[in-house]
């Protein structure tokens, strides 16, 4: 038995897992129309590479990766592109985003699929495949997997597969592990091949005995260790799981790879396997439909399926359903737009909410400094202090008390006896600070540009004056020489002087260009400070 390293705090909300975990994963039927957002990952949205009216095949790339932090998106079934326009998407903002709509032709005909022998292929070729298969972290962050699965000369000690699934209600990873453990482990092998870690740990909360058994069976002979952890939210948080399994902490502002750890979600490993062994892009995923529906269950559904159709598959929402939560109750968000928003790679759960299941929060009381929040914080922050600073808009203090280490897990809100929406305060303060930083940086850049312009204008003025003086001196010298010798042609002498002056000018210009070449201008005496103090948020 591996020793676990407890992380600070944590909470244990009612699990509500069994509602949706009793039934196996069901295949959702093919919808008539699929809406595929081009932005289903962190980074640049994919660029559409099809036109309205085009016929596409299942698995065919319809949006190409744009730049480094980006991946492709694909047609989930065969059919005709009917629109490329803004459409409702599942996003906390409720704003529409650019989507490609495909009318299914019902044939569900695959494009040509090309598996890859990853063991003989160049690692970069494997990564290119992952990028073009649209593989992103399915744990929620949807970060492009091909970027993450690049050791880039860093030594990786531990590869962690995150099967904790600590959010209440959600069981999609649980069911995936129960039913497709072999494929997940195969995906982990591919990841391990790319990263060459010393050890591979698979972390699962101990409320999933069937998943644990299935994964242990699939790991036979691989050397991968399945580690079970007691149920404690947020043990599935990347930083918390790393601490739990390795005892190491990810330094503030850095990424796990900086301490030789890589963490990946079980669903991601599964899609890696499908891409490498079957040449299949990410065109479907497992989603839990639960809460106030009559038949909660997990479904394997095509990306782009309207969420409303999935709710119907789960028996439909009961009449007293007030709204829908996407994701879990601790970190999920309300679906603000209509249920015709499509399933995306990031969505692992829809919870139909009712006043009985999710009672409205009572009005907030003042903070009484009981420190329940500080005791629950998995980052060991002092939320009561951060709240105080946020409320008084004391942003410098909030930053100094490490607001940016907050992972917004919601533990503090969950335990607060005064029912203060702490996470909302912290989100607000973070965005205010980020906006201030951007403004500050823009002002600083403008000031530097202005000062540089002034410097350049003054220098040009001085150079012009010098040139004039030089010209006058040359002319006078030529005149004097001509007068003295009386033999040479004064016109030739003047010409020679002019040529000489032109050469000098060219030299001066070259020097000027060389001085201006480094991208940052010379810092002015007062400049310097404040240039580098921006914080990535």
């Amino acid at each position: 038995m591996r020793t676990l390293h407890k992380f600070h705090g944590g909470v244990h909300p009612p699990e509500h897992k069994t509602e949706s975990s009793r039934l196996p994963i069901a295949a959702a039927p093919l919808p008539q129309r699929l809406v595929v957002p081009l932005r289903q990952h962190i980074g640049n949205p994919a660029i559409p590479i099809v036109k309205v009216g085009d016929h596409v095949l299942k698995g065919q790339m319809i949006g190409a990766a744009d730049g480094f932090i980006s991946v492709a998106v694909h047609a989930p079934t065969s059919g005709t592109v009917s629109a490329i326009e803004l459409h409702a998407v599942p996003h906390p903002s409720g704003l529409p985003d650019l989507c490609i709509t495909i009318e299914a032709d019902g044939e569900d005909r695959w494009t040509e699929r090309q598996p890859l022998d990853y063991q003989t292929a160049d690692p970069d070729a494997v990564r290119a495949l992952l990028r073009d298969a649209g593989i992103v972290g399915l744990g929620g962050a949807v970060f492009p997997a091909y970027v993450k699965l690049n050791p880039d000369q860093q030594k990786i000690k531990t590869l962690i597969l995150n099967g904790a699934e600590c959010e209440p209600w959600i069981t999609s990873d649980d069911l995936l592990m129960r039913e497709r453990a072999t494929e997940i482990v195969s995906g982990v092998k591919i990841m391990a091949h790319l990263m060459q870690p010393e050890e591979v740990l698979i972390g699962i909360e101990d409320n999933k005995p069937e998943a644990i058994a299935a994964m242990q069976a699939a790991c036979q002979g691989t050397g991968f260790a399945v580690v079970t952890a007691p149920v404690l939210y947020p043990s599935g948080g990347e930083k918390q799981l790393i601490k739990l399994l390795t005892g190491k902490e990810v330094p503030s502002g850095q990424r796990p790879i900086n301490i030789g750890v890589l963490c990946s979600n079980t669903g991601t490993a599964y899609t890696v396997h499908r891409a490498v062994y079957h040449g299949e892009a990410v065109i479907s995923r497992i989603i839990t439909i639960t809460g106030n529906v009559t038949k909660p269950q997990n479904f394997e559904a095509l990306i782009g399926t309207p969420l409303g159709e999935l709710v119907q598959l789960a028996g439909g929402a009961r009449p007293d359903t007030s709204h829908f939560i996407l994701g879990g109750p601790m970190m999920g968000f309300d679906l603000l737009n209509h249920l015709d928003a499509p399933l995306t790679k990031a969505i692992n759960c829809v919870i139909a909410a009712s006043p009985a299941l999710f009672p409205p929060k009572p009005a907030a009381m003042p903070c009484i400094r009981c420190t329940q929040c500080a005791q629950a914080c998995p980052c060991d922050l002092q939320p009561q202090e951060l709240f105080w600073f946020s409320q008084s808009k004391n942003f410098d203090k909030a930053r100094a008390y490490n607001l940016f280490d907050c992972i917004e897990c919601g533990c503090c809100d969950y335990v607060c006896p005064s029912h203060i929406p702490l996470v909302s305060y912290f989100r607000y303060t973070k965005s205010e600070i980020a906006a201030q930083d951007r403004e500050k940086m823009a002002a600083e850049q403008a000031r530097q540009r202005f000062e540089f312009k002034q410097m350049r204008e003054e220098r040009e003025k001085a150079e012009k004056a010098a040139r004039m003086a030089e010209k006058a001196a040359t002319a006078a010298a030529a005149k004097a020489a001509a007068a003295a010798s009386g033999v040479e042609d004064p016109i030739t002498a003047a010409k020679q002087a002019a040529i000489q002056a032109a050469v000098e000018r060219a030299k001066a210009k070259k020097a000027e260009a060389a001085a201006a070449l480094p991208p940052s201008p010379q810092p002015s005496p007062a400049g310097g400070e404040g240039v580098n103090n921006t914080e990535p948020s």
Binding site: P13, F333, A363, Q372, Q382, G410, V423, S424
Partner: protein, 341 residues
């Protein structure tokens, strides 16, 4: 609504306050058993005064009166004050103290969650300074009293300020701590003093049992995770250590640790007053510094100061240092100052 979408079932400010009030009930029971019904009357008086003062202040400050009145915080302040002052006293004593605690110490400093000083202890300090004589008239334990005061007599005294046919001196006496101090000043030896009837096995007769009940209530609060161990443990350990040190130097002049732990406001202070959320530090290390400092000051004021007990003043002194303590005891945040491998 943004995340999280769930709250801890049943968690609320009023629940916390009610739990603390419940934790005081065993001690109140012992109080009643050893000293008669006076404590019940003063608890009721204090509660009514606190609620009235709270309602008036909420109204003046345009707060939703009913929502805040039911949070239980005013009643808790009232009970802590009532348990800290002599119960057999004219009605105006507890009324003035409670009203001052709620109106000035709590609401003029910003109300629930914002007051720098513990309201109950501010109320106590005001009474101690303004009415020092009245504040020394503690009821005699029933078992020692020639004339046990009943319910109607107590009511009569509370509202008229006089007892028919009995002198006040016959039913009140100094506290064990006060007695000890006075007797020591009269150059009596510790052993001799401790044989006086007012003293029990460890502390004062009756009061030592009440102290034990406070300890019981405190353990209940620990078990319910309303308070953490840091403050009471550091408080009591410091008090005991300092007492043991002086007792070791001169047992004839300095009482043993157990006496200090089980008399006066030590147990009440350690579990119910120094642990007040609003006026105490929030960090684990801060709580320990605070608890230890209060325990130390408690001893110093008791033994070397002018007052028989030091709980109120040591708490108030340390309340002023809380922002500083918090600022300098922030715990290490995840991912900061990590040990290099």
């Amino acid at each position: 609504m943004s995340s999280p979408h769930v709250l801890t079932p049943g968690s609320s400010v009023s629940n916390i306050m009610l739990t603390v009030l419940a934790a005081l009930i065993p001690a109140i029971g012992a109080y009643y058993y050893f000293f008669g019904p006076a404590i019940l009357i003063s608890l009721v008086l204090a509660s009514v005064t606190a609620l009235a003062a709270e309602a008036a202040m909420l109204q003046l400050r345009n707060y939703p009166v009913k929502y805040f009145l039911t949070d239980g915080s005013a009643v808790l302040t009232a009970w802590l004050l009532a348990l800290s002052i002599p119960p057999l006293a004219p009605w105006w004593l507890i009324v003035v103290g409670t009203a001052f605690a709620i109106v000035v110490a709590k609401h003029l400093y910003g109300g629930l969650g914002n007051n720098l000083f513990n309201p109950a202890m501010v109320g106590f300090a005001v009474l101690m300074i303004s009415f020092p004589a009245t504040m020394t008239h503690w009821p005699t334990p029933l078992m020692l009293s020639q004339h046990p005061v009943g319910f109607s007599e107590t009511l009569q005294y509370t509202f008229s300020g006089a007892l028919q046919g009995v002198k006040l001196d016959a039913v009140t006496m100094a506290t064990p701590l006060d007695t000890l101090k006075t007797q020591l000043n009269l150059q009596h030896a510790m052993g001799e003093i401790k044989n006086m009837p007012i003293f029990g096995s460890f502390g004062g007769k009756g009061t030592e049992v009440i102290a034990a009940m406070y300890l019981l209530g405190g353990l209940f609060l620990l078990q319910r995770r309303i308070i953490t161990w840091h403050t009471p443990v550091s408080f009591l350990v410091t008090l005991a250590l300092v007492a043991a040190l002086f007792n070791g130097i001169d047992p004839g002049r300095y009482a043993p640790p157990m006496f200090h732990l089980l008399t006066g406001g030590a147990m009440l202070g350690a579990f119910f007053i120094a642990t007040d959320y609003v006026t105490a530090p929030t960090t684990p290390r801060g709580k320990m510094i605070f608890g230890a400092s209060v325990g130390f000051l408690e001893y110093v004021i008791r033994v070397f100061g002018g007052y028989p007990d030091g709980i109120a003043f040591s708490i108030l002194i340390m309340n002023a240092a809380v922002p500083l303590i918090d600022a300098y005891t922030q715990p290490r945040v995840y991912g900061h100052d990590t040990k290099p491998e």
